[in-house]
């Protein structure tokens, strides 16, 4: 039985017992008292009457008169004078008065057995017999009844007060107890919370111990994050400049090109320090390193200030910068050129850079991107001085329409539910399906094809309709789960989370289908955790109690920057392709992935890898003990 119920039963039992006991004891003692009083009255009145009768010199008339007077003016039930031979000489009696308040059952329950008063009557030396006096006891029943009711009322009042006080006290005790339990449960779920220390001494030690544990987890997490940084630099970065190495930049670039979220068009800028070998000879290695450092610093300003930019050192003299926005590549290249033209002469003269920029639809292949930017760079190199050569190719494949028309098309497609979920499996080591990742496809043109997210997402983002789209995706996923019971995961965009009523809408959708909800997962990009941690936390708080799982996708080294990852209440992390591909033979990368895994495992998170294509990459991940993989390899293996 619950502790609270036990305590309540105890309190109520004690109160009830003391109430009943007190009332019984009180009633009994009052009855005893009243009975004694009546008997004493009987005895004393008998003696008094006998004394008076004995003064009448045996005159029967006078004696009868006296008896009548006493009887009529007093509270007697019966007064009897018996002569010496036992015969009744005079008897006055009144029937038992009906009690005013005491009910008949009460009189039967607690009857008064009162002895009559008896005294001897004489006149001179003659014994005239005895007189017997019985007083009325009806009023005694009333008295007893009243006293009983009063005691009952008073003690009931006290009892109720005691129960009320007990209730208040127990509630006050219960709150810290519930808090402690909630904290413990949240620890189990991987969301480490600190709670206010309770003032109840017994619970205080518990809560302070729990808080200490949470703080220790936090410290451990921070230590791991620090170590992860070291590993990251070793695995991904160029030693001199701190920018991504070639391998890593290309992996990141590939990931940025192939993922669903992103702009329709983007820009790539390449910077080359001209005549590196000549400079090396002329200025010496250290000076050239400083120059390279300066160039890197100028380029790194972009990824540091704008989310989504990627910068890397491709080889000794070449640097690349990826800009995930249309129409900025040429400007950026020009700005960089200006900056470098101003700063580089400080290191020496004869230092020249060439810049090439290209803007293409994002869906172009990496070969196209690199090829075009290379040719732009070559053109720039052919000229002398600080030259920027910009190339922009590829027409915006989206049909030319006004903003309003776009909006209308997307709204209509969403309303008419001209949408479907595409399914990509996530497989574990045994080849079992973990869940299906389901991006949404919309048929914008009623007679046309289902467009993948890469096509319609930028449009929706421009029209601020991502929340609608994501809500529709969740609804479709819940319906699908209801049909076949297969676990599914839906991507939620950062813009959707920032929409005010979005979380409430999701909660409604999930609430309507509780059984399906337990097989639903929602994943958000890593940037949400870094920039809008509160939204993530809120999402977890509202949806996890309903059984929905939460995860992060496209995650990588940025996880270490999430200060309160251990409190976020996540269930899994999907590591970006840039982090988990190219592990074969690269011990530094493997070490990084392992370090990341250790950190995430300590928070009881499941870790999956995205964008896996090669079987050997997958094997390397199994060796690192990842929980599952997704990507073209999984799609092939699963089918």
């Amino acid at each position: 039985m619950s502790l609270m119920r036990q305590v309540w039963l105890l309190v109520l039992g004690v109160v009830l017992t003391s109430l009943v006991g007190s009332v019984a004891v009180s009633a009994s003692s009052v009855r005893h008292l009243i009975g004694t009083q009546l008997e004493v009255k009987n005895a004393d009145n008998a003696v008094a009457l006998a004394l008076a009768l004995s003064q009448q010199h045996g005159d029967p008339a006078l004696m009868e008169l006296l008896i009548s007077a006493q009887f009529d003016l007093g509270h007697y039930e019966r007064v009897t004078w018996r002569t010496a031979d036992g015969k009744v000489a005079v008897e006055k009696s009144a029937p038992q008065q009906v009690t005013a308040r005491a009910p008949a059952w009460f009189m039967h329950l607690l009857p008064f057995k009162v002895a009559p008063g008896l005294a001897q009557v004489s006149s001179g030396w003659s014994a005239l017999g005895s007189v017997e006096v019985v007083s009325h006891s009806a009023y005694a029943y009333d008295e007893l009844w009243n006293s009983l009711l009063n005691t009952l009322a008073l003690l009931s009042g006290v009892g109720l007060l005691a129960v009320a006080v007990a209730y208040v006290t127990l509630t006050r005790i219960r709150r810290p107890l519930d808090n402690a339990v909630a904290q413990a449960q949240s620890v189990v779920e991987g969301s480490y919370r600190l709670v206010e220390e309770s003032r109840v001494p017994e619970l205080q030690r518990l809560t302070s111990a729990m808080n200490a544990m949470v703080l220790r987890v936090k410290a451990m997490f921070e230590a791991q994050a620090e170590q992860l940084q070291v590993l990251r630099v070793q695995a991904h970065c160029d030693v001199l400049t701190g920018m991504s190495s070639r391998k890593h930049f290309l992996a990141e670039f590939e990931s940025a090109l192939t993922r669903d979220e992103g702009p329709a068009r983007g820009g790539l800028v390449m910077v080359r320090l001209r005549d590196l070998s000549g400079l090396n000879q002329r200025m010496g290695r250290p000076a050239v390193d400083e120059v390279l450092g300066a160039i890197a610093k100028a380029i790194k300003a972009y990824p540091e200030s704008v989310n989504g930019c990627l910068a890397g050192r491709l080889n000794g003299a070449d640097f690349a910068l990826w800009l995930p926005a249309p129409d900025v590549a040429a400007e950026t290249a020009a700005a960089l050129a200006e900056a470098l033209r101003a700063s580089l002469p400080a290191f020496g003269n004869g230092i020249r850079v060439a810049l090439g920029s290209v803007e293409l639809p994002r869906e172009s292949s990496m070969g196209q991107w690199l090829g075009l930017v290379d040719s732009a760079l070559a053109k720039a190199e052919n000229q002398s001085g600080f030259i920027v050569e910009a190339v922009s190719e590829g027409v915006d494949n989206a049909p030319v329409q006004g903003e309003r028309a776009w909006r209308a098309q997307v709204i209509e497609a969403l309303k008419a539910r001209r949408a479907r979920l595409v399914e990509f499996p996530v497989l574990d080591r045994q080849g079992q399906l973990v869940h299906l990742e389901c991006p949404l496809q919309l048929k914008l043109d009623p007679g046309g094809e289902f467009e993948p997210a890469a096509r319609w997402l930028p449009l929706a983002a421009r029209s601020r309709l991502t929340a609608e789209a994501d809500a529709l995706a969740v609804q479709l996923a819940l319906d699908a789960i209801q049909r076949d019971g297969q676990a599914r995961a839906i991507n939620i965009g950062q813009a959707s989370l920032q929409d005010g009523g979005f979380i409430a809408r999701l909660r409604e959708l999930v609430f309507a289908q509780p059984t399906a909800a337990r097989k639903l997962s929602l994943e958000m990009p890593e940037s949400v955790a870094i920039q809008h941690f509160d939204l993530l936390f809120e999402m977890g708080r509202q949806l996890r109690p309903l059984g929905v799982k939460l995860g992060l996708e496209h995650a990588g080294a940025g996880l270490a920057q999430v200060e309160r990852l251990f409190q976020a209440g996540l269930d899994y992390i999907k590591l970006d392709a840039a982090v988990v591909t190219g592990l074969v033979g690269d011990t530094a990368r493997i070490a990084f992935v392992r370090g990341l895994l250790v950190m995430l495992r300590s928070l009881s998170l499941k870790v999956y890898g995205e964008g896996l294509n090669e079987a050997e990459d997958v094997q390397a991940l199994w060796d690192c003990e990842l929980d599952g993989v997704t990507g073209p390899w999984a799609t092939r293996a699963g089918s």
């Binding site: 008997e39 003696v47 001897q120 014994a127």
Partner: protein, 220 residues
């Protein structure tokens, strides 16, 4: 000496038992002699001797006529108790002593005589209905005194015989002009516990009830 004492003791016990039986038939309260002697022992050897004398008296008196019983009991107590005021004997203004208390002190005042004679006569088989304690006004040496005597009514409504410590003889009331009766009482209706339960606090309030309780303890 010891042998005769032991045998007389045993004899007494048998007699007391017979007495109890007899008085049970007659409806008079029986004396529990074992208890009587026990109570006497608590008060000292002198009281024990007196108690034994009382038992012997009762035994002797039971076999006689009622009138003879009166004389025997009257004489016994007049001889064994000398007159003294309560203040001298007990140190309080008014104290009604039980028979054993009076015998222990060997002294008492008018009500103590009356009480002792009343209970002894009752134990000897005289029905209580025939006995009354009477408040009287006595003229002694021209002075008017509050006094108590024991009255015996052979039949209801008859002229009583007076047992008194002022004179040695038992005389009818008409021959006692020095006494003017005021009020009489006895323990009728109070004896068998059909009245107040003995544990009742009211029992200790009145002198008479107090005596009745003490006397019950002593075995009457």
């Amino acid at each position: 000496m010891a042998f005769s004492q032991r045998s007389s003791f045993r004899l007494l016990r048998t007699l007391a038992f017979a007495l109890a039986l007899a008085s049970a038939c007659m409806g008079a309260p029986a004396l529990d002699s074992a208890r009587f002697l026990e109570s006497a022992e608590k008060r000292g050897p002198h009281t024990v001797a007196e108690a034994r004398a009382v038992l012997k008296l009762i035994e002797r008196a039971s076999t006689q006529d009622e009138l003879v019983r009166l004389i025997l009991v009257n004489d016994f107590f007049d001889q064994h108790i000398r007159y003294a005021e309560d203040i001298d004997v007990w140190g309080v203004l008014d104290y009604w002593a039980s028979p054993l208390e009076a015998l222990q002190k060997g002294a008492g005042d008018c009500e103590d005589y009356a009480i002792a004679k009343y209970f002894t006569l009752a134990s000897a088989g005289v029905p209580i209905a025939k006995l009354r304690m009477v408040y009287v006004r006595a003229m002694v040496d021209g002075k008017s005194l509050a006094h108590m005597v024991l009255a015996y009514y052979a039949q209801p409504g008859a002229e009583p015989l007076i047992l008194d410590n002022l004179i040695t003889e038992v005389k009818p009331a008409s021959q006692r002009p020095d006494l003017t009766p005021q009020f009489s009482f006895n323990s009728e209706g109070l004896w068998n516990g059909q009245g107040a339960p003995w544990g009742n606090p009211a029992s200790r309030i009145s002198q008479w009830r107090d005596v009745l309780m003490k006397v019950k303890d002593e075995g009457f």
